[in-house]
C-alpha cells in the first residue's frame, strides 16, 4: 500500500518537509477538535493517502439526524366510510362515502346535536350517543332509522319544475283543443317536467302513442318506434309542443289569478306565454337556417357591403355637417327684421298688443325691452345689471320668451339699443308702444347722425386696432396664415386706419375670405371623392368586362352607393 511518503515520492516532493510544517497543526488539531482530528470510519490506507495535511474536503462523520417530527397541535381527524341517505331519493337508498368523523370524546354530543336539528328522527339521536357508529344490515336492505339522517348537502340540487296542474273540468272548459287530446296533453306535460323544459330534448324524445297503439310496440326498437310515429300523425315540432304547453300554462295561470290581478312580473310572464306564436318562431328559425346556409361568397360580399355602408354613413354625417355650414354661409343674410318687419302701422300695433298682453299677465306692470334680450343668458344678466334695480334676469328671460312667442324669427341685435335704450327704462314705468319704432333709425339716418349700435359693450376701453388684429386671427395657425396670404394677395395693407366703417368693411372682407377658404376645402374633398369613385367605376367596368354574369345587381348597387355618397350638394 502506498503511504503518504510514496505519494510524495511519486510527485517529486521533498519527503521531510511537510510533516514538519504540519506538526503543530496536528497538535492543535488534537486539542481543538478541528480539522486535524482523525476522522473515524475511514480506511487506514485511505487516511494514509491524505498525508499530514488535513484533507481539502473535511470528511466529517456526522451522526445521522433526521428532520424533527413536525409538531402537530391537533389530532388528525379521522375519516369514516359512512353510510348516508340522500333525502332527494324516495327509496332510501343507502350509499357510503367518506366523511370526517367528529373528534374523539365529543363525538356523541356532536352527532346528537346534528341529529337534534332533524327532530323527526329520534332513533338517530340515540345512535349518536352510541359514538356515531352505525350498524346496518346488508347494503341493499335499508335500515333507515340507524343512519344519522343528517342533511345531505347535494339534496338541494334536486329541483323540480312546476308543472301546470288542472282538474278535468278545468281542462274541458278552458284547454280543449282540436289538435290535442287530453291524453297527449298530459303526456306532453309529463315530458316537459321530466326534461326540465329543455325543448330540443323534449322534441327529440317526443313519441306519443295513445294507449291502444302503445301496447304492440312496447318492445320494439327505437327504429320501430320512430317508423311507427312517422306513419301516424305528422310529427310535432318543438314549436308546436311549446305552443301547446305555454298555452296551457297561461290558462292555468289565469285560473289561479285573473289577469287583472296579476302583479307585473306575473303579467309579463302571462303575456309571454299567451303570445307565443309558433308560426313566427318557425319563420325565425327558417331565417336563422338561411343565415347558416350562406355560402362563403355571400358572406364575403356581405362583409364588404357592410364595410362600405359603414364608410358611407360615417362620411355622410361629416359631409352633411360641412355642407350645412357652407350653406349657412352662402345664404344671403336675411333682412334684419327689427325695423323692417314692423314698419307698417298695423304690424306695429299688433306687436304692441302682443307685448302688452304678455306683459299684463305679469305682476309687474312694466314693459321693457332690454338690450339683447334675445341674446344668451349672460347677456341678459349683464343687461339686468346695467338696468334699473327692479330688473332681474328672470324677468328679462320672461320677456324673451314672450318675444319669442310672438316675434318669431326676430334676429339678434335687431332690437338692441345702446345706452339710449337704457335710459328709457323707467322703473315701474309703462312704455308706450308707438314710441318704440322712433328709437330705431334707418341705417342711413343712423350713419348720418353718427348713431351706432352695439351688440355688446364691453366694459373698459378697447382699441379698434385690436379688433382689426383680432379679425385677422383665426383658430388655427394655418387658417391665420391663409387669411394673411389672401389679404396680402388683395393688397390690403397691414395697417389701416380703423374707423368704424373700415372696421366693418374689414370684418366683412375677412368673413368672405374665410368663407372662400372653407369652400376651397370642400371643393378639394369633393374632387378627391370624385376621383375615388371614378377609380372604382373603372374597376367595376373592368370586372364587367371580365364576367358578364352578375352585372345587373352589382350595377344597381353601385349606383345606389354612389347616390348615397354623392347627394347633390345643395338640396
Amino acid at each position: 500500500m502506498a503511504s503518504s511518503k510514496d505519494v510524495r515520492d511519486i510527485m517529486g516532493l521533498e519527503a521531510g518537509a511537510a510533516p514538519a510544517a504540519t506538526a503543530p497543526n496536528k497538535k492543535k488539531g488534537g486539542g481543538g477538535g478541528g480539522l486535524g482530528r482523525r476522522p473515524t470510519g475511514m480506511n487506514r490506507e485511505l487516511l494514509a493517502l491524505h498525508g499530514e495535511r488535513a484533507p481539502p474536503v473535511a470528511v466529517v462523520d456526522v451522526q445521522k439526524t433526521y428532520l424533527a417530527k413536525p409538531q402537530r397541535h391537533f389530532r388528525p381527524s379521522p375519516w369514516e366510510w359512512s353510510p348516508f341517505i340522500n333525502p332527494a331519493r324516495k327509496d332510501g337508498l343507502v350509499l357510503k362515502h367518506w366523511v370526517r368523523k367528529p373528534h374523539g370524546k365529543s363525538v356523541g354530543g356532536e352527532v346528537s346535536q346534528a341529529v337534534d336539528g332533524q327532530g323527526d328522527t329520534p332513533m338517530a339521536g340515540a345512535e349518536g350517543e352510541d359514538g356515531g357508529q352505525n350498524k346496518e344490515g346488508t347494503n341493499g336492505d335499508v335500515v333507515e332509522h340507524q343512519i344519522p339522517l343528517a342533511e345531505y348537502p347535494y339534496a338541494k340540487y334536486n329541483v323540480e319544475i312546476d308543472a301546470p296542474a288542472f282538474s278535468d273540468e278545468e281542462y274541458d272548459l278552458y284547454m280543449r283543443s282540436n289538435d290535442w287530446s287530453r291524453e297527449e296533453t298530459d303526456y306532453l306535460i309529463g315530458l316537459v317536467k321530466e326534461y326540465y323544459q329543455r325543448w330540443p330534448v323534449i322534441a327529440d324524445r317526443y313519441d306519443f302513442q295513445s294507449q291502444n297503439t302503445k301496447a304492440e310496440s312496447q318492445d320494439g326498437t327505437l327504429e320501430d318506434k320512430m317508423a311507427l310515429q312517422k306513419a301516424g300523425a305528422p310529427p310535432r315540432t318543438a314549436d308546436d309542443l311549446k305552443a301547446r304547453y305555454y298555452n296551457i300554462c297561461a290558462r292555468v295561470m289565469e285560473l289561479h289569478t285573473p289577469v287583472s290581478e296579476m302583479d307585473p312580473a306575473e303579467f309579463a310572464l302571462h303575456e309571454m306565454l299567451a303570445k307565443f306564436n309558433p308560426a313566427q318562431e318557425r319563420q325565425r328559425k327558417e331565417v336563422a337556417e338561411q343565415l347558416l346556409n350562406r355560402t362563403r361568397e355571400e358572406i364575403k360580399e356581405e362583409e364588404l357591403l357592410l364595410a362600405e355602408l359603414q364608410r358611407i354613413t360615417t362620411n355622410q354625417t361629416r359631409f352633411e355637417a360641412e355642407r350645412a355650414e357652407v350653406r349657412a354661409r352662402l345664404e344671403a343674410p336675411r333682412a334684419a327684421p327689427g325695423s323692417n318687419q314692423y314698419d307698417s302701422s298695423t304690424a306695429l300695433a299688433m306687436l304692441f298688443n302682443q307685448l302688452f298682453q304678455a306683459d299684463r299677465s305679469k305682476k309687474r306692470g312694466r314693459l321693457s325691452l332690454p338690450a339683447d334680450a334675445l341674446g344668451g343668458h349672460s347677456a341678459a344678466a349683464a343687461t339686468a345689471a346695467a338696468g334699473g334695480p327692479g330688473q332681474t334676469p328672470t324677468s328679462a328671460e320672461a320677456h324673451r320668451n314672450s318675444l319669442l312667442g310672438s316675434g318669431g324669427s326676430a334676429r339678434k341685435g335687431s332690437l338692441v339699443h345702446g345706452s339710449a335704450a337704457h335710459q328709457q327704462h323707467g322703473p315701474g314705468h309703462h312704455q308706450p308702444a308707438p314710441k318704440e319704432p322712433s328709437r330705431t333709425l334707418a341705417p342711413r339716418a343712423a350713419a348720418r347722425f353718427g348713431v351706432s349700435t352695439h351688440e355688446r359693450l364691453s366694459s373698459g376701453v378697447t382699441f379698434r386696432t385690436d379688433r382689426l388684429q383680432k379679425l385677422r386671427q383665426a383658430k388655427s395657425a394655418i387658417q391665420t396664415q391663409k387669411i394673411a396670404t389672401a389679404l396680402a394677395e388683395l393688397g390690403i395693407p397691414d395697417f389701416v386706419l380703423p374707423t368704424t366703417r373700415v372696421c366693418e368693411a374689414y370684418a366683412a372682407l375677412v368673413g368672405k375670405i374665410t368663407k372662400m377658404l372653407d369652400l376651397r376645402k370642400v371643393l378639394e374633398k369633393q374632387t378627391n371623392e370624385l376621383k375615388v369613385l371614378r377609380a372604382e367605376r373603372g374597376i367595376v367596368m373592368a370586372e364587367k368586362e371580365e364576367g358578364e354574369g352578375k352585372e345587373e345587381k352589382e350595377d344597381a348597387r353601385k349606383r345606389m352607393t354612389r347616390l348615397l355618397r354623392n347627394p347633390p350638394i345643395l338640396r
Binding site: 379521522p78 340522500n86 332527494a88 331519493r89 350509499l95 357508529q133 346496518e136 330540443p200
Partner: protein
C-alpha cells in the same frame, strides 16, 4: 355539520366547492375493442381488458374454456378461437359471455372476487367494538362481486331496450350492486370534455358515431353511425398491403422467433416458431390486427390538404404531392421493412371521401352517407337551427381512431368548408388517454358528483319496477 366537521377546526374545502362526493362507484365502459373499468373519481380506468376473448377447447377436456384478458389470449394454442361478443355495431350479441367478460374486467383489478376490498377502516377505534361491522357485512355478501359498489355502465346511444334491461339484470341480480345507472357513451364523452352541449364524434373500433348532446341529454334522432371506423381503416390497410406490388407480407408477432435486419423491401430473414399445428384463422386475424394497430399508430396519416386526397382538379389525385412528402418506415415483426409514402394517406382517406376508399371485389366501397362529414351533416340536419350553431361550436372528437395522425385537423377543415356561415369549433382532448377513454372518464366524473346520487336506480326500485326501469330512468 352534515359533512361532520366542527366549526373552528381546520377545514378541507367544503365538499360543495368541488361538488364531488365519491361513493366508490365503479364505472364500466364496454367498447368493441376494449372494456374499461375503474373507480369513479379517478382519472384513468384501472382495468382495460380486450373485448376479444378466447374459446379454448383442448381435445381432452370436456367443455370449452373461456379465456379473458391480455395475458391469456395471445398465446397460440391448438383449438384456440378468438371471438368478440359484440356485433359490428357494438351491441351485445352473446349476453352470457359478455357478462362474464365484464365481470372479469371488474373483478380482475378492482374489487377482487369477494368484493370486500373496499371495507376500509380508519385506525381510530373507540373501543366500543363496532368497527368490525363492515367486515361482517362484507362476509355476508361475499359471493357478489359488486355488493359494495354502485355501478355505472355505459352503452352506445343506439343500444336496444332489451340489451339495456339485460345490463341492469346482470348488474343487480348477478353482481349484487346496490345501485345502477346506464349512461350514454356520447353524453358521457361530452361530459369528459367539460361540456353539456356538444356534438360528439366518436371514432371507435367498429363504429363511428355522431351524437348531438343538448344540455346533458343526447338527441336520439340526431344519432348517426357508420362502420367507417378503426376496423375499416385496418381493412383498408390490409387491402393496400395486398394490392401493393409486390404485396406487403403481414406477419403477426407470435410466429416470429427471431429476426435479422434486412434492407427495405427485401424479403424477411427470420426464424419462425414451429407449432406443430395451425393456429386458428380467428387467432391469426386477431394477432394481425395488433400489427395493423401499430401501423395505424405510427404510419397512417390523414391527408391534410389541399383539398381531398383525390380532390385535385378533375378528380386527379394529390398522390404526386404525397409522394414528394417524407415517408415513414415500418418494420414488420419479422424484420421486413419499407418506407411508406403515398400509401399512408390512402388508408384513412375513405373515412372522409367514399370515392377514395380502397376497394376489392369482396369489399365494396362505402356509401357516401357513411363518411364522416356526411354523418355529421346528417346529424346536424335533424336539429333546430338554434341548437345547430351551439353544436357546431362544440364539436368534441373522441375515440381511439380519432388518434389517427392529422384526423382532427382534416375534420376541422372539412367542417369549416361545409359550414361557412356558423363558427365551427372542434375540440379533441389532448391526451391519448382522454381520447380513448372519453366515455369512461365522463362516467367517472358523473358518478362522483354529489348531485348525481339521486339518479341511481337502486335495487329496491329495480325490485319494485322490474328491469324496464332503465328505460324510464336512464334516458
Amino acid at each position: 355539520m352534515a359533512q361532520g366537521f366542527t366549526p373552528g377546526q381546520t377545514q378541507a374545502p367544503l365538499a360543495n366547492d368541488y361538488a364531488g362526493d365519491e361513493v366508490a362507484a365503479i364505472v364500466l365502459d364496454p367498447g368493441y375493442s376494449t372494456i374499461r373499468a375503474g373507480f369513479a373519481g379517478e382519472d384513468t380506468p384501472k382495468s382495460v381488458v380486450p373485448t376479444h376473448y378466447g374459446v379454448y377447447e383442448p381435445s381432452d377436456s370436456a367443455g370449452p374454456e373461456l379465456l379473458f384478458g391480455e395475458n391469456a389470449i395471445h398465446n397460440p394454442k391448438k383449438g384456440l378461437e378468438i371471438r368478440n361478443p359484440l356485433n359490428n355495431e357494438g351491441i351485445v350479441e352473446d349476453a352470457d359471455t359478455t357478462a362474464k367478460l365484464w365481470e372479469y374486467a371488474i373483478t380482475s383489478r378492482l374489487t377482487g372476487s369477494t368484493g370486500s376490498a373496499r371495507a376500509i377502516r380508519d385506525g381510530e377505534k373507540n373501543g366500543e367494538g363496532d368497527p368490525d361491522v363492515d367486515m361482517d357485512e362484507a362476509e355476508d355478501t361475499a359471493e357478489k362481486p359488486l355488493a359494495d359498489s354502485p355501478l355505472m355502465m355505459t352503452e352506445p346511444g343506439w343500444n336496444s331496450p332489451k340489451a339495456r334491461e339485460k345490463a341492469i339484470e346482470i348488474a343487480i341480480e348477478e353482481w349484487g350492486t346496490p345501485a345502477f345507472w346506464l349512461g350514454r357513451q356520447g353524453t358521457l364523452a361530452a361530459f369528459s370534455a367539460g361540456k353539456s352541449t356538444a356534438l360528439v364524434v366518436d371514432l371507435g373500433a367498429s363504429t363511428t358515431s355522431v351524437t348531438p348532446v343538448y344540455d346533458g341529454q343526447m338527441l336520439k334522432k340526431g344519432i348517426m353511425r357508420s362502420p367507417l371506423a378503426g376496423n375499416f381503416v385496418s381493412d383498408q390497410i390490409r387491402l393496400l398491403f395486398a394490392q401493393s406490388q409486390p404485396p406487403v407480407p403481414l406477419t403477426p408477432h407470435y410466429i416470429v422467433k427471431s429476426k435479422t435486419a434486412v434492407d427495405a423491401g427485401t424479403p424477411a430473414q427470420a426464424i419462425y416458431h414451429e407449432f406443430g399445428f395451425e393456429p386458428s384463422a380467428s387467432f391469426r386475424r386477431f394477432e394481425e390486427e395488433r400489427v395493423l394497430t401499430e401501423f395505424k399508430e405510427s404510419v397512417v396519416q390523414v391527408w391534410h390538404g389541399p383539398g381531398r386526397f383525390m380532390g385535385g382538379p378533375q378528380g386527379a389525385s394529390n398522390e404526386e404531392i404525397a409522394k414528394g412528402l417524407q415517408g415513414r418506415p415500418f418494420e414488420m415483426p419479422d424484420g421486413w421493412n419499407q418506407v411508406f409514402t403515398a400509401e399512408r394517406f390512402k388508408a384513412a382517406e375513405g373515412l372522409f371521401d367514399h370515392k377514395a376508399a380502397v376497394t376489392a371485389p369482396d369489399q365494396p366501397p362505402p356509401r357516401p352517407d357513411q363518411t364522416l362529414p356526411q354523418l355529421i351533416n346528417a346529424s346536424l340536419q335533424t336539429t333546430d337551427a338554434d341548437v345547430r350553431t351551439q353544436l357546431l361550436t362544440n364539436v368534441v372528437v373522441v375515440g381511439g381512431s380519432s388518434l389517427l395522425y392529422g384526423l382532427t385537423d382534416r375534420l376541422n377543415a372539412e367542417l369549416t368548408q361545409m359550414y361557412t356561415g356558423p363558427r365551427v369549433r372542434l375540440q379533441a382532448p389532448g391526451s391519448t388517454i382522454e381520447r380513448k377513454f372519453a366515455s369512461w372518464l365522463g362516467g367517472s366524473i358523473l358518478a362522483s358528483l354529489g348531485s348525481f346520487h339521486q339518479m341511481w336506480v337502486s335495487r329496491k326500485e329495480y325490485e319494485e319496477h322490474g328491469p324496464n326501469i332503465v328505460e324510464k330512468r336512464c334516458r
